[in-house]
Each structure stands twice: as C-alpha cells, then as structure tokens.
C-alpha cells in the first residue's frame, strides 16, 4: 500500500499492452512490415483513429518504427513479440476452451 506500484516498469508496460488492439497489432507485425492500411485490414478493419493512437503509443516505447516500407517491430519490439509466442502455444493447447467463448 505504501509502495508506488504504478511507477514500476512492468505497470507502465501492462498499461499500454492492456489497451485494446495493442497486443493484436504487435502480433500482426511479427511477420515483417505493414502499411497503415494493410495493418488495418489484418486487424479486422479497426478504426484508423485507434490504429493511429496505438501506433503512436508503440513508437514512443520504441517497440515499432515507421520505415519507408511500412510499420515494423524494432529489435526491442521483436523481443516482446518473442515472448508472445508463448501465448500462441498456450492458446493452441487450450483451443477447445477458447473456441467456446
């Protein structure tokens, strides 16, 4: 109760990853660069407003950057994406469970 939890790095990270679409965007970017519109399509046509907000969040954290050939994960971003592969393994293992929801 006396510690300042919200200042801890993990809390800042969870805050951003917890915003809607952030995880999904990172997931889609795992395989090479995407243009703004291609990203939108691969994310089930999320609104450009939100996509832009998330891209800016991720740019600030240097998780992605915007190169001539599109938005892509940075080296730091790739490290995070690798961690997310564990989520895929879990999801595949629990596919039956996830299909029910």
């Amino acid at each position: 109760m006396s510690e300042n939890k919200s200042a801890r790095p993990i809390m800042v990270l969870l805050d951003i990853l917890g915003k809607r679409w952030t995880l999904r965007i990172m997931w889609e970017l795992r395989n090479g660069p995407f243009t703004f519109r291609a990203l939108q399509e691969s994310c089930d046509m999320l609104s450009p407003t939100t996509l832009n907000n998330r891209l800016n969040d991720l740019k600030k954290l240097e998780i992605i950057d915007h190169q001539p050939d599109g938005y892509q994960l940075t080296v730091k971003g790739l490290e995070l994406a690798k961690i997310m592969i564990g989520l895929t393994k879990w999801a595949d293992k629990e596919a039956t469970l996830l299909a029910r929801s």
Copy 2:
C-alpha cells in the same frame, strides 16, 4: 466472428488479454489468492463493475477460479502468468524508456 482468422485460438486469447485491466489482474494474482476487494485495491481501485466483468471473462477461460479463500490462478492460468514474467524482464531492462511515458 466465427469463421475468419479472429476465430483462431490466439485471436480469442489476444481479444481477452487486450481488454483493459485483464493483464494487470492476472499479474496481481500471481502471488496467491485475493478477495474481490483486495484485488480491487491492488489494481488501483478499479471499478467493481469492470473487475467483475474481467473475473467472469477469466473464469470462462479457466484462467482463474473462485475458491473459499479468494480468486486465484488455475494451473492453466499459472502457465500464462509464467509467460508474463518475460514481460517483467523486458520492462526492467527498458525501465528508462518506460519511465518517460
């Protein structure tokens, strides 16, 4: 919503983990059971409405369950929480970056 790529297990998982507070709740639960109200406090007093919604989401996926001594991660949930430890390591490594946002 039932036959495109969003039906893939990982998409369902990312959908739920991407809702606000979900990751944080799982993070707080990593160390043993919490009562509803204790969880609320550890999550910076998030509203009971949202907490309840998230707990139900997580119960459906059998990531948590509600025992006499409180809400806690299931075996499946613990597996997910372990993956999240990777996030902490990343966050600590990038602490300077995260502090700026």
